[in-house]
Symmetry: D2
Subunit: 225 residues, 4 copies
C-alpha cells in the first residue's frame, strides 16, 4: 500500500510503569524474554511529580516517545448511600486525574514533534452510569470526556488521541485470580484476550493520519450488550 | 386529571445555599419579597461536613425535604498543556464531587420516605468534551454519569433523579456581568430565561411517577446545536 | 411568572386522526364528553395525499394549527433471517415515512406564522438497536434523526420540534388487551399513565422559547434502564 | 501471537457489486492488475431479487463468503419543506433498505458456518440529524440501528457485525470530481485515504473474536468534530 506511508512501527523500547515494582518487573521480564526491550519505572499515576519524572525518564533514554497508553482504573463497587467520600474521590483520582496527568505530560512531549499516539483505556461504564459502579462510572465518564477534548485539541497538531471501550472481562491475572470460575463459565473466547486487545491498540497506533479512529469498543463475540 | 394524583407542589419553605452569604441572602430576599418563605444557609458544596450540616439544618426545620437542586459548577476555560493540576482537580471538586456529596446526603434523607426529587444541572459539555473546556467537560460528564447511576438506584425507591442539560447562555446576573453585550447580540429570548428554567425543574418535580423524565435539554430556540 | 409570557394554552379544538374510523371517533367522544372540542379525520399517515388532506382540513377549520403530535409506529418483533422485506419496509413506512409526511406538512403550515410545536413520539428503540425489534428500532432511529434535523432547521424559525422517548409499557387499551397480566405484574404506576404522558407533551408545548427541550425520556419510576 | 489464532486472511477472490457495470469493471480491473482475483456482478442493492442473486452467485463460486461490506448511500442535501416524498424514500431505500437486504442475505449465508464479517459504512450523519442532510441522516441512523441489532443477534453466533462512521471527505473519484478544489483546501491527508479506510476494514475482519469492535470512527487528523 505505497500510497499510505504508515508510521514505522518499531519502537526501540517499551517503558512499563505502575505503582508496584514486582508487577512491572514481571511485565518487563515477559517483554525481554520474548526478545523485546523494556524498562521499568515505578510511579503512581495520581502523583503529579511522579508522572513528570516518568516522562522525564522516558525522554532521557534518548529516543522519542511515540505511544503512550493509560490503563489505570479500579472497577470498585459500592452501595451509594454508605459510600465514603474518600472512595468516590480516590476512584476519580486513579481513573481520571491520573489520566489527566499522563495525558498532559504526553501532550507536552509529543506536541513539538507533531506525531505520536495517546490511548486511554475506557470501559462500558464510560458510557453509562449504573449502580453499584457509581464511582467508577463517573470517573470513567470523566476520562472519556478528557480523551475527547484532547483528540479535538491535539489531532490537528498530529497527535492521535484514542479511547478504547473495553466491554467485558479481561482474560488476565487480575480477573482470573478474583473470579477463577469465570473463564470456564464464559467458554472459549468469552473473555477478552490480552494479546487481542494489544493488537487493537497497535492498529490504532499504526493508522494513517488521514483516517484516525478516536473511539472503538472491544468485546467478546458472545458478550451481551 | 383525577387519575394522576400529582404530588402536592406547595413546599412550605425553600432552603437556599451557596458559599457567599451576601448572594444567597439576596436570593432569599427575592423569594420572601414575592410572598414565599426561604431560609439561607451558607455552605461550600465541596466540603463534606458543610453539606451534611446543610441537610441537618434543612431536616431540623421540621418539614420533609422534597426537592433538591444541585447547580454548582464553573465553566472554566484553559489551554490544556499549561493547565495546572489544581485547576483540573478544583473543577471536578465543585461540579462532580460537590454533586456527589449533595446527591448522597439527599438520597440518605429521601430514601426512607420513598419520595422526593433530586435535580442536577448539566451542560452541553456533559455530553461532549471540547477544548478549551476540557476540565469543565470532564467534570460535567462525571456528574452526568453520577446522576444516571443514582436514577437507576433510587428511582425504584421512589426518588426521582433528573439531569438537565442547559445548552446556551443563561440570562442572569453572572453572564450579563461577564458579557454584557451578549444579551443584545443574541436578540429576544436568545439567552435562557431563568424563570423558564425554573419552570422546567418544577415540572420535573411534579411529574407523575409512572412517567418520569431522567434527562432533558433546555436551549434557546435560536441556539445552534 | 410575568417575565415569561407563555403561549396561551387554550386551543379551540383538537384534530384527531388515525386509520380506523371507530377508534378515532372514540377518542373524539372522550374529549367532547369531558367538555372539549375535537374533530375526527380518518387518514393513513403513510399516504402523502391523505396527510396533505388532513392538514388542509385542519387549516380550513379557521384557526391556526399550533400543536402537532405524531404517534404512529408498530413495535413489531421478528426474527431477522426470516424477516420479509415487506415487513422491514412497512415498519419504516409507518414510523419514519409517516413522520416525514406529517412533519413536512406541519413545518410547511407552521413556518409562516413562526410558532407552533411538533412532537414526535419515540421509544427506547430509537436509541438502541436490539433484536427481535430490529425493524422497529431502525425505523425509530430514523424518526429520531428526522426530529433532530427538523429541530435544528425550524427552531430558529420559531417552531418547537421535540422527540419524546417512551421507555416502558403504556397503560392503555392496546397493551392491556395484548398483555392483560402486565398491569398487575408491574404494580402501581409500573406502566406509563396516558394522562401523565399527555401532561409532559403539554408542558413541552407550553415551554418558553428561550428554554426549549428537544428531547426527554419518560419511564415508570421502577422501570429498569 | 500464538495464543490468538487469527482467521486466515486470504480470501481467494473478491466479489465487486454495484449498479453501474463500467464502474465495477474498473474496480475489478484494479484488483486484477495488482495481482488479486475479483469478479464483477452488477446488482442494485435496493432490489431484493438482485441482492439474493448476488449472494447466490458468490456462493456458487465454490468458496465460502467471509467478508461482506455494504457501502451504498447518497449524501443528498435538500431543503426540508420542498423535499419530495420520493427523495426521502429513495434515500432510505439505498442506504437503509439496501443495507437490510444485504445484511439479511449475508446473515443467512454466514450463520450456518458460524463465522464471517459484515461491515456497514456509516457517516457522521448516522449519529446526528442536521439539515440539509435530513433525509440522508435519517437513513443512516436507520442503518446504524440495523447494524447494532444485527451485532447483538449474530455476534454470539460467530458473525462479526461492525459499523464504521466515516467522518470526513473521502479522497476518491467521487469527491474529487464533485469538488476538485477540496483536496488542496484540506491539505495533506485532509481527506480520508481510501487505502487507509480499507486497512481499517481489513483490521476489523481480522480481529480475534474475543475482542471484536462493533463501531469505530475514521476521520482525517485535522477534521473538526
Amino acid at each position: 500500500m505505497e500510497s499510505v506511508p504508515n508510521k514505522v512501527l518499531a519502537p526501540r523500547s517499551r517503558g512499563v510503569s505502575g505503582r508496584t515494582e514486582a508487577r512491572i518487573a514481571q511485565v518487563v521480564g515477559t517483554i525481554v524474554d520474548s526478545g523485546g526491550k523494556a524498562e521499568a519505572f515505578t510511579a503512581d499515576a495520581t502523583m503529579e511529580s511522579q508522572v513528570v519524572a516518568l516522562f522525564d525518564f522516558a525522554g532521557a533514554s534518548g529516543h522519542a516517545i511515540d505511544l503512550v497508553v493509560f490503563n489505570a482504573g479500579n472497577n470498585v463497587r459500592h452501595d451509594f448511600r454508605t459510600m465514603p467520600a474518600e472512595l468516590f474521590e480516590q476512584t476519580w483520582r486513579v481513573a481520571t486525574f491520573g489520566g489527566f496527568l499522563v495525558g498532559r505530560e504526553a501532550a507536552r512531549r509529543l506536541a513539538p514533534s507533531g506525531q505520536g499516539t495517546i490511548i486511554f483505556t475506557g470501559a462500558t461504564a464510560s458510557l453509562r452510569g449504573k449502580p453499584p459502579f457509581t464511582a467508577f462510572a463517573s470517573a470513567k465518564a470523566g476520562l472519556r470526556s478528557l480523551a475527547q477534548s484532547m483528540a479535538r485539541e491535539f489531532g490537528p497538531l498530529g497527535i492521535h488521541v484514542a479511547h478504547v471501550v473495553i466491554d467485558g472481562g479481561i482474560d488476565g491475572e487480575k480477573l482470573n485470580t478474583a473470579a477463577p470460575q469465570l473463564r470456564n463459565e464464559r467458554g472459549a473466547d468469552g473473555l477478552l484476550n490480552i494479546d487481542a486487545i494489544a493488537e487493537a491498540y497497535w492498529h490504532l497506533h499504526g493508522q494513517h493520519r488521514s483516517a484516525w479512529t478516536h473511539e472503538l469498543d472491544l468485546r467478546p463475540f458472545k458478550e451481551r450488550f
